[in-house]
């Protein structure tokens, strides 16, 4: 009886398996942030983003680009550094329940990655298509590019690499070796950002129009396929979690 009371007390004091607050706050954070960005585009793309030689373009768009680049480098360094610095050096000796808790936390990261991928690869990428049909382009740094390439892509990259680092440093499943499809699902979409170099080079020297299906854009397509590697991550996770919850009940 005493033992039961102790175990109930321990349960009450124990952290929940899934901290739902983290999940919902994270999703809400991206939603609110990107809603603000969309509002900013709606107001300042039309009023200050049509002519890259105008002083107001520098004020409202180039300054935004500089700020976001610095913020992203600082954020990525701090977050990735913190995840690595605080890694669990005895990851193989954690209890099954702690491992399950970490899997839940890992899935909070993965949900955030999915959400960030949606905003970057779907929302702001197709949005760029319609902006190019509306203005005469006179710079690589159009308002839509400043948001799409240099804000929404780095955000999903930071989120994806963080998710990978969390798994690698805190989950026994990933501690020995590198999960090939996890690497593909993070590095592939990351490569879309360097591919912007090809895109801008091509548009600057070769092809000024914005035909979306032009072969110049196929680099984005190829690296976009890497998103499918999330299936490999899901399969590995399902096997690990099933193993954890199918063991003999205490």
């Amino acid at each position: 009886m005493a033992a039961t009371t102790e175990s109930v007390k321990a349960d009450a004091a124990e952290a929940p398996l899934l901290n739902q607050k983290n999940l919902w706050l994270g999703l809400l954070l991206y939603l609110v942030f990107y809603s603000f960005i969309r509002w900013y585009e709606g107001v300042y793309a039309w009023s200050a983003g049509l002519d890259s030689f105008a002083p107001e373009f520098e004020t409202y768009w180039m300054n935004m680009l500089y700020i976001e680049l610095v913020a992203e480098v600082v954020l990525a360094s701090a977050l990735w550094g913190w995840l690595w610095k605080t890694r669990d050096r005895k990851v193989m000796s954690i209890t099954p329940r702690e491992e399950l808790r970490r899997h839940f936390h890992h899935w909070v990261w993965l949900c955030m990655y999915g959400w960030a991928i949606y905003w970057g690869a779907s929302y702001f990428t197709e949005q760029d298509g319609t902006w190019h049909q509306t203005i005469v382009r006179d710079t690589d740094f159009t308002p839509s590019h400043i948001i799409e390439f240099y804000l929404s892509y780095p955000i999903y990259i930071i989120t994806g690499v963080s998710s990978f680092l969390y798994a690698k440093t805190r989950l026994p499943t990933y501690s020995e070796g590198l999960h090939l499809m996890y690497l593909v699902s993070v590095i592939g979409p990351f490569m879309i950002l360097p591919n912007v170099g090809l895109n801008e080079w091509g548009h600057t020297f070769w092809f000024m129009e914005e035909l979306f299906v032009a072969p110049l854009h196929y680099g984005f397509v190829f690296f976009g396929w890497a998103a499918l590697a999330v299936m490999g991550v899901v399969n590995t996770e399902v096997m690990s979690i099933a193993k954890l919850i199918k063991k003999d009940l205490a």
Binding site: D11, L17, G42, T95, P96, L100, F104, W107, V108, C111, G114, I117, Y118, G120, A121, S122, Y123, T125, E126, G129, T130, W131, H132, Q133, T134, E176, G177, L178, H179, L180, M181, S185, E209, L211, F212, V213, Y218, F220, V221, G224, W225, A227, L228, A229, V230, M231, G232, V234, N235, T236, E237, V238, M239, I241, L244, I245, K246, K247, L249, A250
Partner: protein, 249 residues
């Protein structure tokens, strides 16, 4: 707690944990697939999908099914062969259509003021339902590729016909005859895709008049079969759970 002990304390908790993971996995899978599929589709068939005056009887009917059967085939290869879930194609297409509709409304219309009846996305749902149903009933990749792939191409135009038909009626404007969709494009000038770039009704196929759309759909179905096979194996590769050693990196 011994190594053979469960991480959960009761069967009820195991069920709850399992269901919670199901939702988190579904959320992540849905949005990651949505993002990958959308960027693939908009950059391989996007211009035909963006604008009503690109939605012709020949190239739209040919290109859109061929480039869009890719992700459904790959996701089916994982969800059916690992979990017996016959929803791979439907999940892909639902994700794609959600991403597209949000964009066309919030950005094409909400930001740059192209009317929605000029920039609505193509409907891929009938093909997705057929593809999943054939897989469910047949349980065979070959059958799904051949029958489903062909159906995917054939059903695309009929599936979009009720939407596009009113825009394909002929109109006369400044002494020229063209479709209502062409007239929309004439008024809504797009700086990035001027008229000389628009790829519609090209080639000699149009000489055959009424046969253009069915012949295009049949050809599209043929290529869709091949693409399905190819992407099925891509899907199997992407679903792997292999590890490489740290030294290999």
């Amino acid at each position: 707690m011994s190594a053979s002990q469960s991480a959960v304390r009761s069967r009820a908790e195991a069920v709850k944990v399992s269901r919670t993971f199901d939702w988190m996995i579904l959320f992540t899978l849905f949005f990651v697939i949505l993002g990958g599929y959308h960027i693939h589709y908009m950059l391989t068939g996007g211009d035909w999908d963006f604008w009503a005056d690109w939605k012709d009887r020949r190239l739209w009917v040919t290109v859109a099914p061929i480039v869009s059967i890719t992700f459904p085939a790959a996701v089916q290869a994982c969800l059916w062969w690992r979990y017996r879930l016959p929803v791979g194609a439907t999940i892909c297409v639902l994700g794609l259509l959600l991403g597209e509709w949000i964009n066309r409304y919030m950005n094409f219309w909400g930001w740059t003021y192209f009317p929605v009846n000029f920039c609505f996305p193509s409907n891929l749902m009938p093909g997705a339902i057929l593809l999943d149903t054939i897989l469910l009933l047949g349980g065979s990749m070959t059958l799904t590729a051949v029958v489903g792939g062909l159906a995917w191409g054939l059903v695309f135009y009929p599936g979009n016909w009720p939407i596009i038909a009113p825009l394909h009626v002929p109109v006369e404007y400044n002494g020229m005859m063209f479709t209502l969709a062409d007239l929309q494009g004439y008024h809504y000038v797009r700086t990035g895709t001027p008229e000389y770039i628009r790829m519609v009704e090209k080639g000699t196929l149009r000489t055959f008049g009424k046969d253009v759309a069915p012949v295009s759909a049949f050809f599209s179905g043929f290529v869709s079969i091949i693409i399905y096979f190819l992407w099925h194996f891509f899907g199997k590769w992407f679903a792997k759970t292999d590890f490489i050693s740290d030294e290999d990196l």
